[in-house]
């Protein structure tokens, strides 16, 4: 082989890529002051930005009455949830921190920066907070996260299955802890849903919405591709019907009409709202998943069939994994939209984060503090949306490894 390969001539020597020398002045010149109008734009924008930032900072640091948030923080977080049962919420948070720690490496790779920032968060909050029980609970949360991360760091591969089981069990555990059951003198006295509220309710609606609408959406998408006319027709009707009406009307229908359809059965208001979220979200998910299904080339189906896979195995092992991967960004975008849309449950009388904001603003002590309250609410929504988006990017990077 060596004798036949032509030798690379001297002129085609392999050179390192040209290095550009960077200095601040060069960078400024290239990016901000390259022409006279770019220079002008830069200066104008700089002035505007300075004014805006200064105005906001001045308000936030000197004028804003942030005590409306600190005094009502518990309301914002859990609504009217009884103080005596708050430990149950904390238990959920601690368990969540542990699960995130233990599965950090599986879903995100072991990058240090994010892990440190995430792990430090509860400790920082513990230092800031003035409430003694919360401080202890936050510290325990932080420790749980660190312990989970350490376990994963030490025995990552072996814990993979454990962490998956943990996530699957988390949802029912969450519900048992939050809603409780049975008599008042038992370990977990039941907490009626009209006391659930604030961020707790928002997150519960979101989690239930995602966990149940996702499989329903996948089934609807597969049904729409089905060659059996009845199934196909049912799915098309469902999807088009739900997509044809606004979310608010679906919520109202769930509130008012579910009791009519099921006479004699009293369904909880929160459960009815959850049903509305699931019904609505599933229709949109189905269309997104269908987009993914259509992106799979015919050859994949043929290869799977030629190997003797049954239609079910082909769908579950070959087609769906690829289809869902292709639409991760769209799916996460939709989950973020779902998270924000839950704020509409105010309309049917539930006090989620947005609803609590309204009740807080109605307190005589805090009239007219819309700016503070809505800034805070926006900040909380923003954090969670950012986390979902960041998670999806990690997931995508991980799943596209080697392609």
């Amino acid at each position: 082989m060596g004798a036949n390969t032509p030798t690379v001539s001297k002129t085609a020597e392999v050179l390192p890529p040209p290095t550009e020398r960077y200095s601040v002045v060069r960078w400024l010149h290239k990016n901000l002051f390259s022409t006279w109008y770019n220079a002008l734009l830069t200066i104008v924008m700089l002035i505007l930005a300075t004014l805006a930032v200064r105005g906001v900072l001045e308000w936030a640091l000197t004028q804003a009455r942030w005590e409306v948030i600190t005094v009502n923080l518990r309301l914002f977080m859990v609504g009217q949830y009884p103080v005596s049962a708050l430990w149950r919420i904390w238990a959920c948070v601690v368990l969540l921190a542990f699960l995130i720690g233990i599965s950090w490496g599986i879903w995100g790779g072991m990058q240090r920066g994010g892990a440190v920032a995430f792990g430090a968060l509860p400790f920082i909050l513990a230092i800031i907070t003035s409430d003694e029980p919360s401080r202890i609970a936050l510290a325990i949360t932080g420790i749980a996260g660190v312990v989970g991360y350490a376990l994963n760091w030490r025995w990552g591969a072996a814990l993979r299955r454990v962490s998956i089981i943990g996530w699957v069990l988390y949802i029912p555990i969450l519900f048992v802890l939050v809603s409780g059951s049975g008599a008042d003198d038992s370990l977990l006295p039941s907490v009626p849903t009209n006391l659930w509220g604030g961020l707790l309710l928002t997150l519960l609606l979101t989690v239930v919405g995602i966990v149940f609408s996702f499989p329903l959406g996948v089934v609807l998408a597969l049904g729409r591709q089905s060659k059996l006319p009845v199934i196909n027709w049912l799915c098309v009707v469902y999807i088009e019907l739900i997509r044809g009406v606004p979310f608010i009307s679906v919520l109202f229908m769930a509130q008012l009409m579910l009791p009519l359809f099921l006479p004699g059965v009293t369904i909880d208001r929160v459960v009815r709202a959850m049903a509305g979220v699931i019904i609505f979200s599933a229709a949109y998910l189905a269309e997104n998943v269908r987009g993914g299904l259509q992106s799979i080339p015919r050859g994949q189906y043929e290869a799977a069939r030629a190997l003797g896979l049954s239609p079910w195995k082909m769908t579950l092992l070959i087609i769906l994994p690829q289809a869902l991967r292709a639409v991760i960004p769209i799916l996460v975008g939709q989950f973020i939209a779902l998270f924000k849309d839950t704020s509409l449950v105010v309309i049917v009388g539930l006090l989620d984060l947005m609803g609590i904001a309204k009740t807080v603003l109605a307190q005589p002590d805090f009239l007219g503090l819309q700016a503070e309250v809505y800034t805070f609410v926006a900040f909380v929504y923003g954090i969670f949306c950012y986390l979902m988006s960041a998670f999806s990017q990690r997931l995508e990077a991980k799943l596209h490894a080697g392609r």
Partner: protein, 253 residues
């Protein structure tokens, strides 16, 4: 020609008067072919002659509308269980490889043995590694298909088909999508497979391969078998004018 095939003992594939229509287009017009155990059959002909359609009717990727196909004693009908049994005995290699891009090479190979044959993961992986050694790329086992060259992907596809331990291998233009320098590495694997006694039906334009290993060659045109015979007959003294013309075009470059 079918007289010739019928007289041989123990056919594993029997096709009798197979017809196939796409709408009004008559794609297969009465194909009859018997394939013995261990026989290597090469099918060639101009594009649109129905050779790919024919090979795909044998494992029911295409449905035939008239005639009879019997594979290893099982007749292809609408009975789903029969179709799945035949597919378990029949490996197929495609022009476009059709590896599963979301799975590693080894997972591509072990998927069907685990989920269709019910082997354990350890068993399946052991066989898969043996097959990867046989096709010459054991070091690529943990990579994804997208990281391999076309020739390597096609060799993985052959290993994937062989992992089901099929009695018959179908090749649908396995080298047509490959860069010229990669064709040989795939053909080498196929030659080795043919010499090991595998029953093979190969749709290909690689006449060198046909001359080296084919037992019988079939020339397809317009959905029919125009002529068949041993490579010596076909290359040395083709009877039909169409065969002569086609061979002169294929062999001239």
């Amino acid at each position: 020609m079918s007289v010739n095939a019928q007289s041989t003992a123990d056919p594993i594939i029997i096709c009798r008067d197979v017809h196939k229509w796409y709408g009004n287009y008559h794609a297969l017009r009465g194909i009859s072919m018997d394939v013995r155990r261990g026989e290597v059959v090469v099918v060639f002909g101009p594009s649109g002659s129905g050779k790919s359609t024919f090979i795909r009717t044998i494992n029911r990727l295409e449905e035939h509308q008239r005639g009879q196909i019997i594979v290893d004693g099982i007749e292809l009908t609408h009975d789903v269980r029969n179709i799945e049994r035949i597919r378990m005995e029949t490996g197929m290699v495609f022009q476009q490889f059709n590896l599963f891009p979301h799975l590693t090479v080894i997972d591509n190979i072990t998927l069907a043995p685990i989920w269709v044959r019910g082997w354990t993961k350890a068993q399946a992986e052991e066989i898969a590694m043996q097959l990867l050694k046989r096709v010459g790329i054991p070091e690529q086992a943990r990579k994804y298909p997208g990281q391999l060259s076309g020739g390597q992907q096609q060799r993985v596809a052959i290993a994937r088909a062989l992992a089901m331990q099929p009695k018959i291998m179908l090749f649908d233009e396995p080298t047509s999508a490959l860069d010229p320098e990669m064709i040989k590495e795939v053909l080498d694997v196929m030659v080795e497979l043919a010499e090991s006694g595998m029953t093979m039906i190969v749709v290909t334009h690689e006449m060198g391969f046909a001359r080296a290993v084919a037992d019988t060659m079939y020339f397809f045109d317009q959905g029919q078998i125009v002529e068949s015979g041993t490579p010596d007959q076909m290359f040395g003294d083709p009877r039909e004018a169409r065969t002569k013309l086609f061979l002169s075009q294929v062999l001239s470059h």
